[in-house]
């Protein structure tokens, strides 16, 4: 990424941080009373994102830059709540109608129209979702199982999967951005989706108040079905690439709300700003060349485990992220099905053990390995890890990329046996699609295969009972962690920072940050 400095935002590199899980509904609207000062009037909410957002809800990757703008203009079919339960938004009711997690049915809320006045009915939803299947970056992975989308009647949509897919609820929620419904008017020429909004959300883009790449102005959608969900007369989304600038702007009262990454945390604390946090992503290293294609030592599981033991996670968490990260050895996050608390400390910091394991594997003097990192946020972690590995004799030749295409090219080139990663917290099924299948992708470039792992996953996917299913996913994650395909370092927080003109946000446990549509004026 260019001059809008990639730095501190893991998201900018579109690392699929499925961050903002919404807390919705229960909060009653309450129009703010005046408070003097500030650059804008009280009925205006100004928020900052780190990079220019993609306005097309389906082309948008799940990152913090896109979530606010999509959420403002597009209502999802299903809303995921803070406690990871689901309530209907544009769909009144929904659920699997078979026992294999294959057929998913949605009953639409009657009488809802898009902002442009078109009625929101089943054919419109089908058309919108079909568009999603063609353009969404997730279509080929997470939505690949979808075989057909039909509209038996004006109020019903049925999605049929060819193989079991247990995460249809998430998929059609605001969390994954695939459940946003686009008006047929917008789909006649999808190109306009990049410049205007065609949703049924609480706000709509005001092109006159917008300079692409710098700021985007949203005005209330007069046809929004839920009047209680509109708290502002105007919402301005400003692009502020630098998190320090954002912190400073919030301090100076120019920005009311921003979702920042953990590494901005110490600055937020130092500035004394009101904030809440939620775990959003795992950062660490991908020990990618598990077959030893270019780095023979990595074929030995003991070597990979040694590398895990050599990481002083607690110190990294504290130094780089302050209180905004937790050491972990697994890629699953609490609140998600595959998570087991015990796995967080699967590989305690133990350099001696690491050395011993290396010696056992035949590398008593260590070895040298090439590694790749991108964006300063992740690169900082990679740098520290490299420094710590050096102590057990493993020398890392670190290449740091600054641009997405370059990163992608490097990662997929299979020239780097080790890469750094950041990955948003997701249901284990979704992350398994990226991490655990023998399909080459940025998190498994060498397409490593493990039969046992695949078996656990296949069983889990088809399991209709949530508890049994979670147990199976936990097995998979445990297997993955034992294999040490990764060297996760920390689970980091996202930080929602608010200025004085908005009401304090409600802490959202560890389930992601509240959506921007829930931000209300200070009362």
């Amino acid at each position: 990424m260019f001059a809008h400095r990639p730095r501190r935002s893991v998201h900018q590199v579109r690392v699929l941080v499925a961050a903002a899980l919404l807390t919705v509904g229960s909060l009653t609207a309450c129009s703010g009373t005046a408070e003097e000062g500030g650059a804008t009037d009280d009925a205006t909410l100004t928020l900052a994102v780190a990079a220019p957002p993609t306005l097309d809800p389906y082309k948008a990757n799940i990152d913090l830059n896109n979530i606010p703008t999509v959420a403002l203009a597009y209502a999802p079919l299903i809303r995921m709540n803070a406690d990871r339960t689901f309530t209907g938004e544009l769909a009144e009711s929904f659920g699997y109608v078979d026992r294999q997690n294959k057929v998913f049915q949605l009953k639409l809320r009657p009488g809802v129209t898009f902002a442009d006045g078109t009625p929101l009915d089943a054919p419109a939803v089908v058309r919108s979702l079909e568009y999603m299947r063609t353009v969404s970056p997730k279509a080929k992975t997470w939505a690949a199982t979808i075989a057909s989308i039909t509209a038996p009647d004006a109020g019903t949509v049925v999605v049929t999967n060819s193989t079991p897919n247990p995460v249809m609820r998430q998929l059609f929620s605001q969390a994954i951005l695939s459940g946003s419904v686009v008006s047929p008017a917008g789909l006649t020429d999808p190109g306009q989706l990049a410049q205007r909004t065609f949703g049924a959300g609480p706000y709509q883009l005001d092109p006159a108040g917008t300079v692409a790449g710098d700021h985007y102005t949203y005005l209330p959608n007069p046809r929004y079905w839920n009047k209680d969900g509109q708290h502002w007369k105007k919402v301005v989304v400003r692009v502020l690439p630098d998190s320090n600038a954002t912190v400073q702007a919030i301090q100076a009262g120019q920005i009311d709300y921003a979702a920042l990454n953990a590494d901005a945390g110490p600055a937020v604390v130092a500035a004394g700003l009101t904030h809440i946090t939620a775990s959003v992503a795992v950062l660490g290293m991908v020990l990618a060349d598990r077959d030893g294609t270019v780095a023979a030592p990595l074929r030995d599981v003991r070597v990979r485990q040694a590398l895990n033991h050599a990481i002083d996670r607690a110190t990294i968490a504290k130094t780089i992220f302050g209180e905004f990260a937790h050491p972990t050895s697994q890629i699953a996050a609490p609140g998600f099905d595959g998570y087991q608390a015990a796995l967080d400390d699967r590989y305690p910091y133990d350099p001696d053990r690491a050395k011993a394991l290396l010696a056992e594997a035949g590398y008593p003097n260590g070895f040298t390995v090439k590694a790749e990192a991108h964006t300063p946020g992740i690169a900082a972690v990679a740098q520290v890890v490299a420094g710590q590995w050096k102590k057990i004799g493993v020398t890392v030749e670190l290449t740091t990329d600054t641009q997405v295409p370059q990163w992608l090219e490097h990662v997929m080139s299979r020239k780097f046996p080790v890469t750094a990663f950041g990955y948003g917290n997701l249901p284990t099924y979704l992350s398994s699609l990226d991490f655990m299948r023998p399909v080459a992708n940025p998190f498994n470039p060498y397409a490593t295969n493990d039969a046992q792992l695949r078996q656990s996953l296949e069983r889990a996917v088809a399991e209709p009972d949530p508890t049994t299913q979670a147990g199976l996913f936990q097995q998979a994650v445990a297997r993955l962690t034992d294999l040490a395909w990764f060297a996760p370092v920390v689970r980091m927080d996202g930080i929602a920072v608010t200025g004085t003109r908005v009401a304090p946000l409600e802490a959202a446990a560890d389930n992601g940050l509240p959506s921007v549509v829930t931000v209300r004026p200070a009362g």
Binding site: Q192, Q195, G213, P442
Partner: protein, 313 residues
């Protein structure tokens, strides 16, 4: 003087052509696919391929350039590949902050720099030494570094000025001035000292010329000699320097607009470069070049007005 203007303008066309060709070539060297950039790293290759074709990127480079050129001649600079909006209005919407920044900085530099230079030339002593020192120190302090320091203290600690953002003049002239105060300060420090130094040297040079002595000897007032006669002559090289400075400010604006979050041409160009948005970048470069030409023309005219010998050449 008319010939001067015509000569400049005649050169503008070829200049724009060469500049745009050069940029086009350079940009085409940038690795990666704009279609990929638009769709994101995880988009499937077929999609990327389709968009690639749709954007006309599969055509030969010369064809791409010529079609751009044909449209550009008619004032159509194409559409942004990342947002799909027309480039010309996009650039127009970003022009105001940049032009404001350049104008205010040039004004500040011209007024403050010249005043300091004249004062130090006439008064000499400590002030003269100060200008000498400042001119070197000013050059040495990187503007972007100064900007960071200014933000940290003046905007964040003491809250004297906004740390970021731009208020259009039409919305609030005071807000406009406040929003530009720190950026202008950061960009003008080096230039102020350079202009002060140049003014001082030019003034000292002019003041040692025969005509100044003749005027003194024939009893003209010191004030008139300094401000009416000497300054006018000394202003010629100063104006030339100011022209160069304002033109070079365009470079500084990229950094400063980024740091201060100004929605200007510089941050737009940087953004476009990041997104591989060739039409926007091309448009920005054309716009930049036009501004440089305009500044050069203004500087020439000012010099010709100040010194008739310049215009006669």
């Amino acid at each position: 003087m008319v010939r001067l203007v015509l000569r400049r303008l005649a050169w503008t066309g070829p200049l724009l052509f060469v500049v745009s060709v050069l940029c086009f070539l350079l940009i085409s060297l940038v690795p990666g696919d704009p279609a990929r950039t638009v769709l994101g790293p995880l988009a499937p290759p077929e999609q990327v391929e389709a968009l690639h074709r749709q954007m006309g990127l599969d055509r030969p480079l010369t064809v791409q350039y010529l079609s751009w050129l044909a449209d550009a001649v008619h004032g159509d600079l194409g559409r942004s590949v990342s947002t799909g909006t027309a480039v010309a209005p996009l650039i127009a919407s970003r022009l105001a902050p940049t032009v404001s920044l350049i104008l205010l900085t040039t004004l500040t530099v011209g007024v403050v720099g010249t005043a300091l230079g004249v004062l130090s030339a006439v008064r000499g002593g400590p002030l003269g030494r100060l200008v000498d020192v400042a001119s070197v120190v000013g050059l040495a302090v990187p503007g972007f570094w100064l900007a960071l320091v200014l933000i940290t203290w003046l905007a964040v600690r003491w809250r004297l000025f906004p740390a970021t953002g731009y208020v259009p003049f039409g919305e609030s002239p005071v807000g406009w001035l406040r929003s530009l105060a720190l950026p202008v300060t950061a960009t003008s420090l080096a230039a102020v000292t350079a202009v002060a130094k140049q003014t001082r040297d030019a003034m000292l040079d002019v003041l040692s010329r025969d005509f100044v002595r003749v005027m003194q000897a024939n009893g003209l007032s010191t004030r008139s000699i300094v401000y009416r006669h000497a300054l006018r002559t000394a202003a010629v090289p100063v104006v030339a320097l100011l022209g160069v400075i304002s033109a070079s400010l365009l470079g500084a604006t990229v950094l400063i607009e980024n740091i201060f979050g100004l929605p200007g041409l510089g941050s737009g160009a940087a953004l476009a470069a990041a997104q591989h948005d060739i039409p926007v970048l091309q448009g920005a470069v054309v716009c930049y070049t036009l501004i440089v030409v305009a500044i050069g023309l203004l500087a020439d005219l000012a010099q010709a007005w100040l010194d008739p010998r310049v215009g006669a050449r």
